[in-house]
Amino acid sequence: MSDPILTVQNLKKHFIIGYTEPPWKRQPITVKAVDGVSFEMLSGETLGLVGESGSGKSTVAYIIVGMYKPTDGKISFMGKDLYQESKRPRELQKAIQIVFQDPGSSLNPRQNIKQILEMPLRVHQKGKSYLEMVIHLLEIVGLPPEAMYKYPKMLSGGEKQIVGIARALATNPSLVILDEPTSALDVSVQAKTINLLLQLQKEFNLSYLFITHDLSLMRNVANRVEIMYLGKICEVADTIDFFQKPLHPYTQMLLSSIPVISEEEESLRPQKVISRGEIPSPVNIPKGCSFNSRCPFVMPICKEIDPTFTKMEKGHSVRCHLYNKQI
């Protein structure tokens, strides 16, 4: 854990969803899914990216993995610019892999597990004996070799997700993006899957970009947490610091909304911020700070100027006017 493996600078992704009506010159209507996101990931760490649906966290994942091209911004992975060439070189494709959210729809129902796991091997490791490698992959994730001839529908949700993990590991990646890998699973299955992921991380020295909306899960897996709201990051901190001293009103709202199961946890929740309103449409992002429509501490300045990051402590930054004044 020392040098950054991934650096994202001012990443933007605007989708054009239509055009304005004629009388005037036709202007594109854009959705600013990701609007100026910057962060750094260290080698071997788990970085948690948290936000509500529609906050743009999956879009960030898809851009890094290469499914979308960014509108603006720079991503460098181990010192190489990911979008320098029009087509990403094989080595970089190989090194960054993704596990998708819904294991039911991310596996081809007409292929058996062997075919599913062979696909990345055929692309990235031509001319080797695939059978042994598939068996080895299944062994790594703790599935019996017989599972190879099963089809996805014959597996339970948890097992499907484990196949998804095995597929991501097939190319020996160094960065794995986990896009809500357990949100479709039961808690008991989630526990098993998470523990498998943590064990694999140690074994292969993987870096995880862990995307989720479950903050209690984040508390237990991530080294650092980033909170995203409407395409922008609003708070970054080390996990322990983050849960002890949440600063941004949105973070406090998220934390106070979590249903918990013990009194110890209850004392950790900030009680004063009660959740209200819904995430606005990304087509009409409020002027100024995008959170101003739901913020309980809203000030006149919030409706005019978008705040910039304020560094509070080492590794803990927040993007809010409440903390800007103190400097």
């Binding site: 509500e52 649906s53 339970s156 949700g157 948890g158 039961d186 808690v187 008991s188 299955v189 989630q190 526990a191 098993k192 998470i194 523990n195 909306h213 479950d214 903050l215 209690s216 899960l217 508390r219 237990n220 897996v221 322990i240 849960f243 709202m253 998220l254 934390l255 106070s256 909304s257 979590i258 249903p259 918990v260 199961i261 013990s262 110890e264 946890e265 950790l268 929740r269 959740s275 209200r276 819904e278 995430i279």
Partner: protein
């Protein structure tokens, strides 16, 4: 709590089977359940353990066939729902027992406006048909929407489900379920498909409404935190039968059944400390369910007797019963 001596809803030894290609799925296996008026009950368990099947059996909305109910009794205020004729059933559904379904998107009809759907429900459940004109019904629909903290009801009534956000759709579903003023409200995972902040809003709203009207509630969920905040008694269900029931506080402080212990241990905590490895194995195949206690294949404390005999619910202390041989051995 005003507990009268007769439960408002009681299920005795309910069995539900599904006839499918290649065999018979024995899903519910002798389920016992009771609730008194005004109780708020949580029903928890993993996916596929029969929670929703139970609730559908109560409302008699299970598709039959493939489902069949060989034995069992579901009595609502002393009347057996399973033996009711259609017109009697109409009185129970809606006015007596009402349900909020899991997926607000799937529960609303996409080709009718919210207003049309709400008015249909109110029309069907009006106690005295002659005294209400159609204008009155519209007003009632608007009022129900206001109850769930939705603003701009006139526009909402004219819009289609697709025009609303997930949170708003769930509010509409709650409004629909409550518009008939039921005595029992069944809420099947009311917040699961929503974001935490929205889930929090929905649950707070639900709690306030239920408190105000003094309704009895059955909350089905697999999120234990939600159960803790909303209910006062919990049923834990595994593979078609109840394995433990206790007051909500007690079950989190001192879970007894190995399954309950496993479930509670796997919940990630805000206070950190890692995640326990959970319960090994998975829900059994209902075609060939394990003999004896259905949990014995996954239980860390399995004994010889568990493989042959099914434990029945055994009362440990007041309001705390568990179906496990670990606790009946002293008898």
């Amino acid at each position: 709590m005003n507990q009268s001596s007769i439960p408002i809803l009681e299920i005795k030894n309910l069995h539900v089977n599904f006839k499918v290609y290649g065999g018979l799925l024995r899903v519910l296996d002798g389920l016992d359940f009771h609730m008194y008026a005004g109780e708020k009950i949580g029903l928890v368990g993993e996916t596929g353990c029969g929670k929703t099947t139970t609730m559908k059996a109560i409302l008699r909305v299970l598709p039959m066939p493939p489902a069949e109910i060989p034995t069992g009794e579901i009595s609502y205020k002393g009347h057996d729902i399973l033996k009711m004729k259609n017109d009697e059933l109409k009185m129970v559904r809606g006015r007596g027992i009402s349900m909020i379904f899991q997926e607000p998107t799937a529960a609303l009809n996409p080709v009718f406006t919210i207003g049309e759907q709400m008015e249909a429900i109110i029309q069907n459940n009006i106690r005295d048909r002659r005294s209400t004109s159609s204008i009155n019904i519209k007003e009632l629909a608007g009022l129900s929407l206001k109850d769930v903290a939705l603003a701009d009801t006139d526009r909402l009534l004219k819009s289609y489900p697709i025009q609303l956000s997930g949170g708003m759709r769930q509010r509409v579903c709650i409004a629909m379920a409550l518009s008939t003023n039921p005595e029992i409200l069944i809420a099947d995972e009311p917040g699961t498909s929503l974001d935490v902040t929205i889930q929090d809003q929905i649950l707070r709203l639900l709690r306030d409404l239920v408190e105000k009207r003094n309704m009895s509630v059955i909350l089905i969920t697999h999120t234990l935190g939600v159960v803790r905040e909303l209910t006062n008694r919990v049923y834990v269900m595994y593979a078609g039968s109840i394995v433990e029931t206790a007051a909500t506080k007690k079950i989190f402080q001192k879970p007894l059944h190995p399954y309950t212990k496993g479930l509670i241990a796997t919940v990630p905590r805000l206070s950190g400390g890692g995640i326990a490895n959970g319960i090994p194995g998975r829900i059994p195949d209902y075609k060939n369910p394990p003999s004896g206690c259905r949990f014995h294949t996954r239980c860390p404390y399995v004994m010889e007797i568990c493989k042959h005999e099914k434990p029945s619910l055994y009362q440990i202390e007041e309001q705390h019963s568990v179906a496990c041989f670990l606790y009946t051995a002293g008898e």
